[in-house]
Structures are given as C-alpha cells and as structure tokens.
Symmetry: C2
Subunit: 192 residues, 2 copies
Amino acid sequence: MLPFEYLVQQFEKYLPLDGTEQEALRNRIVERRIKRRTCILHQGDVCKHYTFVAEGCLKMYGADAAGKEYNLLFAAEGDWLADIDSLHSERPAQLFIETIEPSVVLQIAKADLWDLFTHYPKFDRNFRVIVEEQYIELQYRLFQTFSTTALERYELFLARHPKLIQRLPNTQIASYLGITPEFLSKIKSEKR
Amino acid sequence: MLPFEYLVQQFEKYLPLDGTEQEALRNRIVERRIKRRTCILHQGDVCKHYTFVAEGCLKMYGADAAGKEYNLLFAAEGDWLADIDSLHSERPAQLFIETIEPSVVLQIAKADLWDLFTHYPKFDRNFRVIVEEQYIELQYRLFQTFSTTALERYELFLARHPKLIQRLPNTQIASYLGITPEFLSKIKSEKR
DNA sequence: CTCAAGACTTAATCTACTTTAAGCGCATTT
DNA sequence: AAATGCGCTTAAAGTAGATTAAGTCTTGAG
C-alpha cells in the first residue's frame, strides 16, 4: 500500500476523511525515506513538523546534562510523533527524534497543519483523539514506573508491544523502561 | 467571580467563545460544591464527566494491588481533569479522583461534551490544546523521573508549582514525586 | 573480506530509596 | 476536654537497581 493511502486508512479509526479533506491533506504532506540511525529532530532545533510513520520505527528521547539518553516513546507503522512543546511554542526542542530502522515517513509542516485545522475542523477532532490516546499511554507508563519493579514493567511491555520487542535492541528497551541495559540483561537471565 | 465566568475566561487563552457557544456550554454545565477528602471518581466506576476546577484542589491517582496510592496529577483553579481512558471507552476506571480541599467544580457529561464537539468545532480545538498541554507536562515528568534524583525532582516541583506547595501536605507531594513521605522528609532536612 | 563499532552478558561494588517502627504535634470530631 | 486520627520526623536495616569493568558476539560499512 502507498504511504499516503495507509495514512488515510488510519484516519478511518476516528472520523474518516471525505474526498476534499483527503486532497487538502495530500497537498500538504511530504514523503521522506530515511535510513536508519538518522536524527530528524535534534535538541536545540525547533520542531517544525508532525511526522506520521508509514514504514519503519523511530524513537523520541531526551538527554540529561551528562548526555545520557532516555527513550520517551517508540513510533512504528501508523503512529504520529512530534515534540509538541517545541512545535507549539517554536522554542528549541528539548528532545531528539531518530530512526531506529530504515523508515518512510509523511510529514506535515506546522503552518500547513494549522491551516488544515482552520479549514477542516475534522482534523482538530482527529488530532485531539490521537493526542488523547498518547496521553492515556503515557499516564499508564508513569503509574507503572511508580508502582512496579523493572521485571514487571518488562513483562507488561512484552504483553503490550509483542511486535516491537522483536525489532528493538535490548538497550533501547532498557532506556524506555527507565533501567540500564545491564540490569535488563540480569532480569532476563533470572526469568528462566 | 462566578465559576462559570471564570471558565469562560479560561477559554480566552485558546480560542475565545462567542455568545452562542457560551450559551451552549452554560446549558450543559453542572456546578458542584464538594467538601474536602471526597471521592468523585472511584476505581471500578465508569468516568462520566469532564471536570473543571473553579475553586479548590483535587488529585487523580492510581492504586496498586496492595492499595498503595500514586498521585498522577493535581488539579487546581483553572485545570480540567478526567480519567480520559474510562470516559472514552466507558470501561471501569483504573483511577480515583478526590478533593484535597473544599472545592467548587463545573462538570460536563460525556454525551453533552460530544454534542458540543459535534455542533461547535471550537471545542474540539480547545480540548485538543488542553490535552496537548497536559501531555507535555506528563512527558516532562516521565523524563524527570528517569533522569533525576528525588531531591532534584522536589526542587523542580518547588520551582514549577510554588503555590501548590503551600496547599499540599508533604505526603501528597511525595506520592506525586514517586517517593515515600519518609524519604521526602529526609531530603528536606538534609537541604538545610 | 575485513574491521571497527555496536550489542549482550556477567560479576563485584556501591547507593538511592524503601520498609518498618516508634514518637510527637496538631487539627477535627465528640 | 478528651479522644481520635492525620501528618511529620528520625533512625535502623534491607533491597532494587546503578556503576564500573572486562569480555564475547554480531553487524554493517568500506
């Protein structure tokens, strides 16, 4: 399936787009093919696009003063991502976005997205629901981080994202769970 | 200021409401005065309302299997809150919402809110932005939880929410920071 | 094909935070 | 005024997970 067709299909989950809306979207979308380990947003730059993943997998992460990285989310086929804070405020991003696999993404620039919101209110609705779903996921993760051990969090991640596990190196998963790769390795060996 | 006027004023931050929209909102809003330590959403019940805080302070929290509680957010004057997951899915809530102080809230039922979204797209926009802001806050907190010590998190909380600090007991703050009240007490005594 | 860099493991030592327990001050209820 | 319970503190002992370091295996770029 073509990347753009896949994007339109994803909107079927919410409020499907009519022909006019599809055209309006198509005219504002840019497709990019990106090889693995490529940073498409760097801390300090302003985030200028919302990005839809058609193929591949990306991560968004922050880094502390010492440069240590902490994964905030993975985005695979069908997911949207952006540093929303930077996109809105047009201040320098605190976060990085980087491909983990060779990927095909569709991007829409802030001005074009705002334009869509203004002319076609359905996009406000659809993006509201997309952000709400991501909010629920994030809230769930914060609760898990407070209330469970690293082993439990690993098993919950396994259960919730069985496909991602096969595609991600353990070091990326450890960072997402808030632990070190060494400790994840220990946990996994003790499971057997 | 009357609670409803305060609510309308808060929307000025986003897209202000015209007279028709204000009336549509007024007709669907219910005001409630609630004394402190009252649960307005209990784990296992379905969340039926979005709640706006006009006066006072509430918390939303989860509990683990042993009944231990973990604060996910505080909502004071001007904030909205709901268990969005339960509100959308109409499944039993995982979370609790409870007043910390005597409070005045304005509530809108799901069906009425959906109705507003359908007839007045501006509400889709405004609630999208409200959720986005909460998402940014939550993402920031998850990053802090991974990358900083309890002391740093306490100081960041002080800096970011100086007014809340005066109103909340330490035990609530500890739960929000993901530590025990005992450890928060120790940290604070070592600061001097 | 080669080689350097990334990815996984194991193990010893270290520490941030928890758990448990006890005591005290303060506010709310009776 | 008494009683009850909540919030704060201190301290000892315990633990989940970090850090450091060394070594092996895998991978993709040239």
